[in-house]
C-alpha cells in the first residue's frame, strides 16, 4: 500500500489534489481511498488530505500518520506546529515541497533527512491558470511520485475538475498544468515506484502505544471549562492569512476607521497616531482595506521569506 499525505491551506486545493490522485489510481485499476481532514472550515487554515493506493482492499481509515509521500503545497506550513507536515516522515519517504528554493536549501533549512523534491508549482499555476489554485498541479506531482500513468492523471483531473468547474477551457488548462508538473518532476532523480511497502500497517509509533487507565478527577478539573484568562493569545491566527494589509502613511489620515472595523481588534495606533496591525493574529480578511476611505491600505500576497 502507498500512503500519500497532502498539506495545504483551506482554498489551495489539497482536498481536490487528494481526489485527483485517488481517481487516477482508481482508473488505473488500484483500490483507492481518499479523505480530507479539516475542522471548522475556513480559508487559509491548515488542512490535510490523504490518499491510499493499494493492490488489495484498503483496511485502513482516517488520518495517515506514517506516509510514504508527503506533498507540501504551502511552504509556510513547514514552520507551523499545528500543521506539522513532516510528522511521521522516515528514511525512504519522499517529501515534495512547493517552493522557489532548491531541494538542498530546503533540506538544510528544515533538517529533513528523507528525500526532498522541490518545484515552484505556484508559479506554474500562475503562468498556466492565472491563479494560485494548486489542486490539479499537486495531483500531478503526486501521481508522478506514486508511479501512476500520465493518462490516468489527465483523466483524474478531468473527472475531478468537471465536478466543480463548468468552463471547459479552465478544465483543459488544469489538465495541462497537471501534466506539466507530472513531467517536470520526472527530471528529478529517484522517483518513488508505486507499492513500496507491502505491510498493511506501518511499524512505528502506533504499535508501541501504552494503554492507560484514566483516573477519576474532580469536576473542578474534569469539566470542560477554562479557569485561566489570557490563553487566547497562545493561538496565533496570523497563519491563516493569504494577504497582509500594508498601510501607506503618506495617504493615511489617522481617521481610525480601520481600527474600528477590524473584527479581531488587531489594529492599534503607534506613537505618531498611525494604525498598524498585529501580524501574528491578523487573519488577512482585508476589511480594513475595503473600509479605508482614502485607500491607504493595500493587500500584499503573503510569501514565506527566510
Amino acid at each position: 500500500m502507498l500512503r500519500v499525505r497532502f498539506h495545504g491551506r483551506g482554498g489551495q486545493g489539497a482536498k481536490v489534489a487528494s481526489r485527483v490522485l485517488g481517481t487516477a489510481a482508481f482508473l488505473e485499476g488500484y483500490y483507492a481511498q481518499d479523505f480530507p481532514l479539516y475542522g471548522a472550515e475556513r480559508r487559509g487554515a491548515p488542512i490535510a488530505a490523504f490518499t491510499r493506493i493499494s493492490k488489495e482492499p484498503v483496511l485502513e481509515r482516517g488520518v495517515i500518520a506514517e506516509p510514504d509521500i508527503v506533498i507540501v503545497m504551502d511552504e509556510t506550513l513547514l514552520s507551523d506546529p499545528l500543521s506539522s507536515p513532516l510528522a511521521g516522515v522516515r528514511e525512504g519517504c519522499v517529501v515534495f515541497i512547493n517552493t522557489t528554493h532548491s531541494r538542498e536549501e530546503v533540506r538544510a533549512k528544515y533538517k529533513i533527512t528523507a528525500q526532498v523534491i522541490t518545484l515552484d508549482i505556484t508559479k506554474i499555476s500562475l503562468d498556466i491558470l492565472g491563479r494560485p489554485v494548486l489542486s490539479a498541479l499537486a495531483g500531478g506531482v503526486a501521481a508522478r511520485l506514486s508511479g501512476l500513468k500520465e493518462d490516468s492523471l489527465s483523466k483524474g483531473v478531468e473527472k475531478e475538475t468537471s465536478e466543480i468547474i463548468t468552463d471547459r477551457s479552465v478544465i483543459e488548462k488544469n489538465i495541462e498544468a497537471a501534466v506539466h508538473c507530472y513531467n517536470a518532476v520526472e527530471s528529478h532523480p529517484h522517483p518513488a515506484p508505486l507499492p513500496s511497502r507491502g505491510t498493511e500497517v506501518p511499524e512505528g509509533e502506533g504499535r508501541k502505544t501504552t494503554v492507560i487507565t484514566v483516573p477519576f478527577e474532580p469536576a473542578i478539573t474534569s469539566s470542560p471549562a477554562i479557569n485561566t484568562t489570557g490563553s487566547t493569545p497562545m493561538r496565533k491566527t496570523g497563519n491563516w492569512r493569504l494577504f497582509r494589509p500594508v498601510w501607506d502613511y503618506e495617504k493615511c489620515t489617522k481617521c481610525m476607521t480601520c481600527v474600528a472595523r477590524c473584527p479581531d481588534g488587531c489594529i492599534a495606533l503607534n506613537e505618531d497616531g498611525f494604525p498598524y496591525t498585529d501580524y501574528e493574529n491578523c487573519k488577512g480578511c482585508m476589511i480594513c482595506a475595503e473600509e479605508c476611505p482614502v485607500k491607504a491600505i493595500t493587500a500584499e500576497r503573503e510569501v514565506h521569506s527566510w
Binding site: 479523505f35 483496511l59 502506533g206 504499535r207 487507565t213
Partner: protein, 406 residues
C-alpha cells in the same frame, strides 16, 4: 452498472436517487449536509423526480417525513447528532404511526463538549424508538443499505421506519470505489411503493396516528410495534437473500470476519470495524486465533446470530464506540444479556473506544488481544476499559495546564 469513487454521503444520495423517492424534507448539519446537497442538485437539474422541502428544524423535518409517508408516498430524510436529538420526540411518534420512511443518520459525537467526528451515542440514543437500525462499514454498504431499508420498512409485516447509519468523516467524507447499480435492477428489487393501508383520498377518509387513552389499548399498540420490529429478523433474511440474488453482494445481519476457528473475537460496528479487521489480520500473522464479529443490524437485535457466533470462543471483547454515562458500553450490556442463559458462554470483556472519533491504533488492538489472552488464562475478566493511550493522556495534561486545571 458503473463504479465510481464516492463518499459515504454521495453513496447515500445515490441510494435515495435509485430508490426513486417521492418526498425529501431536509435540514442541514455537518457531517450530513452533502447528502441533501446532492439530492437537491439532482432534483434541480431534473435528474431526480421528487419534491424537496427545506424546513425550520429537525423536529419539523421528521414530522413532515412521517406525515408524508402516512399518505402513501416514499420518503427519505437525513440528519446527524444534535439534529437527531432535536427531533427526538418525533422519532417515537412517527414510529408509532407505523410509517415506512428511511432516514440516514451520519454519526457524530453528541455535545457537550461539542465535537464533529463520529461515535454512536446519537444513533444508539434512538434504539428504543421503534426504528429498525442498519449500521454500515463502507460506502458501498451505505448505498446498498438504503435500498434494503425501503424493502424492510415497506414490508407489510413491519411497516416501521428504518435508520441507515454511517460514521461522520471516517465514512461520510471518505471516498471509496462504489458500484452504482442499474435502475432496472433496483426496480426489480424495490418496486414502486403502492401501499394498501395508507390512503390519501377525499372519497375514502381514514384517520392515522390516533390517540388512545388507557394502558391496555396503549400496551397493545406498543407491543405490536415490538413484535413487528422483531419480525424484521426474518424479513431481513429474505431481503438480504433477494438483494444478493439481484446484485451479487451479501449482507448478513451479523458479519463474521475470520471467525471460523477463532478463539478470540472482537465485536464492533460501523466504519472502525475496518480497523478491527486489519488488527485481526495482524493478530493471525502473529499466531493468535483472532476473528471479528460486526453487528450490522442493531434493531431488531440479532440475539440468535450473536449467540451462535459466540459459542465455544475463549474470550470476546465488545468495543463500544459509545458510552451510556453511568453504566458503560451499550452493546456490551445488550450482548451480556443475550449470553446470560447460555451454558457454553465465553468470557466477555468491555472496551470503550473511538469516542468523538478518537483513533483506535494498532497498539490499542494489541492491548485488547493481550487482555483477552490473560483473561482466558486466569478466568478473570478485567474491569471495563477506556481505550486511551499514554501519549493522549500527556497531551490532555498539557491542555489542562493551559486551562488552569492544576
Amino acid at each position: 452498472m458503473k463504479k465510481e469513487m464516492l463518499t459515504g454521503n454521495s453513496a447515500a444520495a445515490w441510494g435515495v436517487r435509485l430508490a426513486e423517492v417521492d418526498y425529501i424534507p431536509a435540514f442541514p448539519i455537518t457531517p450530513q449536509t452533502e447528502i441533501i446537497e446532492s439530492l437537491s442538485r439532482w432534483i434541480c437539474d431534473g435528474e431526480m423526480d421528487a419534491r424537496f422541502v427545506t424546513v425550520d428544524s429537525e423536529h419539523s423535518m421528521i414530522t413532515a417525513a412521517g406525515a408524508a409517508s402516512a399518505t402513501g408516498v416514499r420518503v427519505f430524510t437525513a440528519t446527524s447528532s444534535q439534529g437527531l436529538l432535536y427531533g427526538f420526540e418525533m422519532l417515537y411518534t412517527v414510529a408509532g404511526w407505523r410509517v415506512p420512511l428511511v432516514m440516514v443518520n451520519v454519526s457524530r459525537g453528541v455535545s457537550a463538549p461539542i465535537t464533529l467526528e463520529a461515535d454512536h451515542n446519537d444513533i444508539l440514543a434512538a434504539r428504543d424508538s421503534g426504528f429498525l437500525q442498519i449500521h454500515c462499514e463502507n460506502c458501498q454498504e451505505v448505498l446498498d443499505s438504503v435500498l434494503m431499508a425501503y424493502r424492510l420498512a415497506e414490508d407489510e409485516r413491519i411497516l416501521l421506519p428504518v435508520f441507515v447509519n454511517m460514521d461522520g468523516f471516517q465514512l461520510s467524507f471518505t471516498r471509496e470505489p462504489v458500484e452504482i447499480p442499474e435502475i432496472e435492477d433496483v426496480r426489480r428489487f424495490l418496486p414502486q411503493y403502492q401501499p394498501k393501508h395508507a390512503i390519501f383520498k377525499a372519497s375514502q377518509p381514514m384517520a392515522q396516528g390516533i390517540a388512545v387513552l388507557g394502558g391496555p389499548v396503549y400496551s397493545y399498540f406498543k407491543y405490536q410495534m415490538h413484535l413487528a420490529n422483531r419480525k424484521g429478523l426474518d424479513v431481513y433474511k429474505e431481503v438480504s437473500k433477494e438483494f444478493e440474488r439481484v446484485f451479487g453482494r451479501r449482507y448478513d445481519a451479523v458479519e463474521g470476519y475470520m471467525t471460523d476457528d477463532a478463539e478470540y473475537l472482537l465485536i464492533m460496528t460501523n466504519s472502525f470495524s475496518t480497523l478491527g479487521k486489519a488488527a485481526v489480520k495482524r493478530a493471525r500473522e502473529s499466531g493468535i486465533k483472532a476473528g471479528l464479529l460486526r453487528l450490522r443490524l442493531i434493531r431488531p437485535f440479532p440475539d440468535d446470530d450473536i449467540k451462535n457466533a459466540l459459542k465455544g470462543r475463549k474470550a470476546v471483547s465488545v468495543i463500544d464506540q459509545n458510552i451510556s454515562v453511568g453504566k458503560g458500553g451499550i452493546l456490551y450490556s445488550e450482548i451480556a444479556g443475550v449470553l446470560y442463559n447460555e451454558k457454553d458462554r465465553p468470557l466477555l470483556l468491555s472496551f470503550i473506544g473511538g469516542l468523538g472519533g478518537k483513533n483506535i491504533s494498532p497498539g490499542e488492538f494489541d492491548f485488547i488481544f493481550d487482555s483477552m489472552s490473560k483473561a482466558a488464562d486466569t478466568g478473570e475478566v478485567p474491569a471495563p476499559q477506556l481505550l486511551y493511550t499514554e501519549a493522549e493522556w500527556k497531551e490532555m495534561e498539557r491542555l489542562k495546564k493551559i486551562a488552569g486545571k492544576m
